[in-house]
């Protein structure tokens, strides 16, 4: 017998189910007042540095139907590319947001500051992006993806460059629809399926 590795294995995932908001976003679930302070209500506080932007979109299934029961979480750097907790990071940027698809329309909106470019290990610069995590009924393991911005120089980004089918890279890029306004849809399956990540 060889020596035994003393590692543990990650706990298996299970779907968040249709009622994830009861636990993570009680007000959204109609149970406002469950907690005095809810978590992830906004990624920025008043006075955050940088350009305030709004990203709107929907999460669509393989039939083109917008999910009404998805919960999304975002995590990002501040306008100078620093994450909360890193030295010099903007104290007005918490970087984290939880938001749900609207129960009637399926539309979501993320209001935040445009993040700066972030240095990768080894020195390469990653183009500005927001990390996204999506859970819902029918999603067995939470899906990771990223939002990039079409008005940035994306040519040197290590992750986008790793996508072999260049025609899929656009699924990670938000379209500019007006000053400070972007559109970004997530497609779970089928035509224009979003590139999901294993990072």
């Amino acid at each position: 017998m060889v020596q035994k590795l003393d590692r543990l294995q990650e706990t298996p995932s299970q779907t968040a189910g249709p009622y994830v908001h009861i636990g993570c976003m009680p007000t959204y679930a109609g149970n406002g007042g469950s907690y005095d302070i809810e978590i992830g209500e906004s990624p920025i506080a008043e006075g955050a540095q940088g350009e305030v932007i709004e990203i709107t979109g929907e999460v669509r299934d393989g039939t083109g139907w917008a999910l009404r029961d998805a919960m999304l979480e975002s995590w990002q750097a501040d306008a100078s590319g620093l994450f909360p907790g890193q030295e010099g990071a903007d104290p007005k940027v918490t970087g984290f947001c939880r938001f749900g698809a609207d129960a009637e329309t399926g539309k979501f909106t993320l209001r935040t500051v445009k993040p700066g470019a972030v240095k990768a290990r080894g020195g390469a610069m990653q183009a500005p992006h927001i990390s996204l995590w999506i859970v819902a009924r029918g999603i067995n393991t939470g899906l990771q993806t990223r939002i990039y911005f079409e008005d940035d120089d994306l040519s040197g980004d290590p992750l986008l460059n790793r996508i072999e089918q260049k025609n899929r890279a656009g699924t990670l890029v938000a379209k500019k629809t007006g000053p400070g306004q972007y559109a970004f849809d997530v497609v779970l399956q089928g035509d224009g399926e979003t590139v999901f990540l294993d990072i």
Binding site: L8, T11, P12, Q14, I22, D36, W75, L188
Partner: protein, 242 residues
């Protein structure tokens, strides 16, 4: 800042596949393409921190939290407790653990839950806490009821508590479910069965823990959770060729 190294890549074999024909909602909601794999960076290795200041006095007591201590929820009182560890067997301290569950009759407090089991006026169904310096957490709650759900002709969810865990890194993010030892519905449930390896599914089943039960008050169940670890080595600060 010390570089703790990249996150250990997920072993996708222990997680459920995206597409599972027996869990019908996964059919239109499962990506067909493979995931794009890449080594983690700052965006995955960092994450928000949650201080105890966000917690309220009753947050980890689902028996009392909906009425803020005025009246207890109906049901079998249980303590659910355990540790959050990483793959290197180190405690994850300061982890945010959030749970939600049905009431004793199997009904959720949610406008879309139309099951005719009654709502309990004293039960909300959510709780949260932050792990201590040993990675330990506990909740006082009631045993949730099993409930039927529209899938195949006669599918029932076993008794379960939904868990959302937030460790130190956004890339550690995990949502799962805890089942109860001895529940015969576990092995009939298509959602439990999305975890294909029986030994992995059994890791979601909490054993009865009589040593932690309080006589004449509550039973206890032990549920440990493992999040992704990081791969620190002495070589970690060197630039790596891509």
């Amino acid at each position: 800042m010390t570089d703790l190294g990249p996150l250990i890549p997920r072993n996708r074999a222990i997680h459920p596949p995206a597409y599972d024909v027996d869990y019908k909602t996964s059919v239109p909601r499962s990506p067909r393409w493979s995931l794009l794999s890449m080594e983690s960076g700052a965006g995955e290795e960092t994450g928000p921190t949650f201080g105890h200041s966000v917690l309220g006095q009753w947050d980890n007591n689902l028996v009392m939290n909906f009425t803020r201590g005025k009246a207890p929820a109906i049901g079998e009182r249980i303590l659910v407790h355990g540790r959050v560890l990483d793959e290197n067997a180190r405690p994850v301290t300061g982890a945010l653990v959030e749970i939600w569950q049905a009431n004793a009759g199997g009904r959720y407090r949610h406008k879309k839950d139309t099951y005719f089991a009654p709502l309990d006026p004293n039960f909300g169904g959510c709780g949260r806490t932050i792990t201590d310096d040993q990675g330990y957490y506990e909740f006082l709650t009631i045993r949730p009821g099993a409930y039927p759900w529209p899938n195949r002709g006669n599918d029932w969810r076993p008794m379960h508590i939904h868990f959302s865990i937030f460790g130190h890194s956004f890339g550690q993010r995990l949502i799962s479910q805890m089942y109860f030892e001895g529940d015969p519905l576990i092995y009939r449930c298509p959602i439990a069965a999305t975890v294909k390896d029986r030994s992995q599914l059994d890791r979601l089943v909490a054993p009865l823990d009589m040593a932690k039960a309080r006589p004449m008050d509550f039973l206890a169940y032990k549920f440990d959770i493992v999040l992704r670890g990081r791969r620190q080595t002495m070589f970690e600060n060197k630039p790596e060729g891509m």
